[in-house]
């Protein structure tokens, strides 16, 4: 158990280092983009005087390293700073969007993960049958379509033609949970269709791979029912690779959904990041990047821990 804690501590330390490197990288890249926030906001109204006045007001006429260290200092004390564009507290701005994104990601995951696992197990059980083949081709097809295409198809059939669901996800902060779930159903369904294939096929592959092991043969010779062979004997050993794929897809559900957000007008982090990059609102871009990087790191950590816990050899090393 102590070795597990050691691994977790090591990973967290490495994670923090990664976050630090990511922050420098993002700051560098945004600096290299042409134009800056003053020109982006004032647009056609940008004259040299108004640009200079705006720059001085925001304090961005100072050199880049100075601004970076001030930001870093703020971050270390938990103060994400203020958005350059409209002076709002970034923690409040990001907080609302982050909770929306996590809600949608969580909703999609709650549907997609059990669905993929069940389908994967069933496909392994009935491997090479018609069921297996049709599930595989359907999920591969849905993952091959671009997500906005899947989104538009769902909107066309379920919203415009059938009228069962609203065409856009107009959620606001004081909506009751039931309403929220109803309005987020279509985007969650889109995301599910996009991520199921990967997780399902990995589950199926990992289980089928194990089915050729001697101990499985022993279980079958003992007369154990096929479903119990898979669930009780094969699946516990398959968790390692499966959890890694699940973690990867969960991370995608948080950071990669900006296209779905735009199509459904869902107020999440993706749209915030895109707007902030195009307006060169550097503190917001950095805050969002830190969050995205943090999500990846945490989910990877989770995957590693589960891999270790489900593998007795790793859990109790000699």
């Amino acid at each position: 158990m102590s070795s597990l804690l050691k691994v977790v501590a090591q990973r967290i330390a490495l994670g923090l280092l990664t976050l630090f490197v990511v922050s420098i990288f993002i700051a560098l890249v945004v600096e290299l983009l042409p134009g800056d926030i003053t020109q982006a906001i004032l647009g056609q109204s940008a004259t040299p005087e108004t640009v200079a006045a705006f720059r001085a007001e925001l304090g961005i006429d100072r050199p880049a390293p100075e601004r970076y260290f001030e930001w870093l200092k703020g971050m270390l004390t938990g103060d994400m700073g203020k958005s350059l564009a409209n002076k709002r507290e970034i923690s409040e701005l990001v907080g609302r969007r982050l909770s929306n994104t996590l809600f949608l990601g969580g909703f999609a995951a709650a549907i997609a993960v059990p669905l993929s696992l069940i389908l994967g197990v069933l496909a392994a059980l009935y491997r090479n049958s018609l069921f297996d083949r049709s599930v595989n081709s359907f999920t591969l097809t849905s993952i091959s379509f671009p997500e906005f295409f899947v989104a538009y198809i769902l909107i066309l059939f379920l919203s415009v033609k059938a009228g069962w669901f609203p065409g856009i996800s107009n959620i606001s902060k004081d909506l009751p949970l039931g309403d929220r779930l109803f309005r987020s159903l279509l985007p969650a369904a889109t995301l599910t269709l996009v991520v199921v294939a990967h997780m399902m096929r990995m589950t199926r592959a990992a289980i089928i791979n194990l089915l050729s092991s001697p101990y499985i043969e022993m279980a079958q010779l003992k007369g154990v029912r096929p479903i119990r062979v898979i669930l009780h004997h094969a699946l516990p050993n398959a968790w390692g690779p499966v959890v890694n794929v699940i973690a990867l897809n969960l991370a995608y559900l948080v950071v990669g959904v900006v296209v779905v957000e735009v199509v459904f007008v869902y107020p999440g982090l993706g749209q915030l990041l895109v707007d902030s990059v195009s307006k060169r609102d550097v503190p917001v871009v950095q805050a969002c990047s830190m969050i995205f990087a943090g999500v990846y790191i945490l989910l990877n950590l989770f995957a590693d821990i589960v891999s270790i816990v489900t593998n007795p050899r790793l859990l109790h090393p000699r």
């Binding site: 906001i41 909107i155 415009v160 065409g167 199509v263």
Partner: protein, 524 residues
């Protein structure tokens, strides 16, 4: 359709003024039925109540409530929902009193006295007085990033004379100062100790801001105390930012919103055919341009400019790029609905022979045209069409497609020939000063014409209507024949609404009834 219907349509589109409409109606003896059919939809007066939901193709998470930062359609609408200004442009395009109930210009239009309306309350309870006016103006003067700074640079001093009068002293005579003082940036807000809290969202408008999530949603409740008679009928107003045009169209067709702006022009006619949906349009001041830098070869030669002006087929561009939702331009930025528009100035047409003639005088033309859809929707396609039109006159144009991101920093006013759009202005002086005066910071053709600049200053202070008309005619002609800009078209403001919405006659200056739809419209 009957004469009455035809006249009504013309009035709605702003092709005739209300005065002409009324005189025509009385001539055919139809005045008895006027009150009933004057409105677009309802026969009785405006009904109160309901929540209006609007889907706008604008809005960004970087929006703020400070009037100095209003720069897109979303914040423009928030502005008009919660604030009032000194005056407002009426349906005939003339400035009418709003918070200032009257004004007068003396001393050769150098001194302007504004008399303020009494008993107007802001949503925080404070009564509007001259201190608020002064503070609201000063937010945009002096050390400020506000785009209105350039407009107010002509104000040498402003002072109040009692709680209901404000007096401006201008550096030079300006017969249109009442328009300037009503610029949308100069929102009147409550002041404390001589300063306004620019981002507090408080004003004297028809609605009170309840919740603002920039780039997503703004929610308002009706201002129970609104001073303006006959305006403000909805109980609640919800504005949603829906940038993706398909999502916006879906929101309208599935009933999630009641109005949407900027439908995709390609599919607008089909959208209009759906039951329960109406496509509306007005011709405002919006125009699209191809500005040439007159300080850079080869565009410094007027023969080159004249050749290129004759080498574009304006009707085809209006047909193919605007899908007919617009009118041809005459190489100057003055819209037909602006006062003193030179309707009798000969319309320039596509003439490859004339273009060849000028090209030969210039010794052949081979130029690059930079375009991106950031300039206006369809700019790249318009440039490509232009290239084909010009090829028939032996002129070679290479279309350079620029990236949208950073277009206004790197392409506009940098490359020799590009594409641009102008929202336009309600007066000629304002439009010409903004973009055509020698040395101006947005003079994107880098043009300097002595006679034009002279006329600009004299016309600004001229109060005699006939003299002014003659001066502006000459100025439009100079821009048309010697200026550096090709103006092929004026684009209509197009939007789509549910047929449950009713309205009266509409303002022509901005889209959606002068952006004042929230206080002018009602549910039928």
């Amino acid at each position: 359709m009957s004469e009455i219907e035809r006249m009504k349509k013309k009035l709605d589109r702003g092709q005739i003024t209300r005065r002409e409409f009324l005189s025509r109606m009385s001539a055919i003896g139809a005045t008895a039925v006027l009150p009933a059919m004057y409105s677009g939809n309802a026969l009785a007066g405006p009904k109160k109540g309901g929540r209006l939901r609007v889907g706008l193709g604008h809005g960004s998470t970087t929006d703020g409530l400070d009037p100095a930062t209003y720069e897109n359609g979303f914040t423009a609408d928030v502005n008009y929902a919660i604030h009032n200004h000194m005056g407002e442009v009426d349906d005939a395009g003339i400035i009418a009193p709003e918070l200032a109930e009257s004004w007068e210009a003396t001393n050769g239009a150098k001194t302007w006295i504004f008399n303020l309306r009494k008993g107007v309350e802001f949503s925080n309870g404070k009564t509007m007085d001259a201190d608020d006016i002064v503070a609201s103006f000063q937010h945009h003067m002096g050390e400020t990033k506000s785009p209105a700074k350039a407009l107010l640079a002509q104000v040498e001093s402003m002072r109040k004379d009692g709680p209901h009068q404000v007096i401006f002293e201008l550096a030079g005579g300006n017969a249109d100062f009442s328009y300037i003082a009503s610029d949308y940036h100069i929102a009147i807000k409550p002041s404390k100790d001589g300063k306004i809290d620019a981002a507090d969202g408080i004003g004297s408008g028809a609605f009170v801001l309840e919740d603002f999530d920039p780039g997503v949603r703004a929610f308002f409740k009706k201002n129970p105390n609104y001073w303006k008679e006959g305006r403000g009928h909805f109980d609640e107003l919800e504005m949603l930012s829906i940038i993706d045009p398909t999502a916006r169209t879906n929101a309208l067709t599935t009933g999630e919103v009641d109005v949407m702006d900027r439908p995709d022009l390609k599919t607008a006619s089909r959208l209009g055919k759906k039951p329960g949906i109406v496509i509306e349009e007005t011709t405002g001041y919006l125009h699209y341009t191809f500005p040439m830098r007159t300080d850079t070869a080869p565009f410094d030669d007027n023969n080159v400019r004249m050749a290129l002006k004759h080498a574009v087929n304006r009707e085809e561009i209006v047909e193919k790029i605007l899908y007919g939702h617009g009118t041809v331009g005459n190489d100057h930025p003055i819209a037909p609905s602006v006062a003193y528009h030179a309707a009798d100035l000969e319309q320039r047409n596509y003439d490859p022979d004339k273009a060849k003639f000028y090209a030969k005088k210039a010794g052949g033309i081979n130029v690059k045209l930079s375009a991106a859809d950031a300039a206006f929707a369809g700019a790249v396609d318009a440039a490509t069409l232009y290239k084909e039109h010009a090829a028939a006159a032996g002129i070679e144009i290479e279309v350079v497609r620029e990236p949208n991101d950073g277009y206004w920093s790197n392409v506009w006013m940098k490359k020799a020939w590009g594409a641009c759009y102008w929202g336009g202005r309600p007066t000629q002086d304002w439009m010409f000063t903004t973009a055509y005066q020698g040395g101006g910071s947005w003079n994107d053709t880098f043009w300097a014409h002595t006679r034009f600049d002279e006329l600009l200053i004299s016309a600004r202070a001229e109060t005699d209507s006939e003299k002014r008309r003659a001066m502006y005619f000459e100025m439009q002609q100079i821009v048309r024949d010697e200026g550096g800009v090709v103006v092929p078209m004026f684009a209509n403001n197009v939007w789509a609404a549910s047929d449950k919405i009713a309205h009266g006659s509409m303002a022509q200056n901005w889209t959606m009834d002068g952006n004042k739809f929230m206080e002018k419209w009602w549910f039928a």
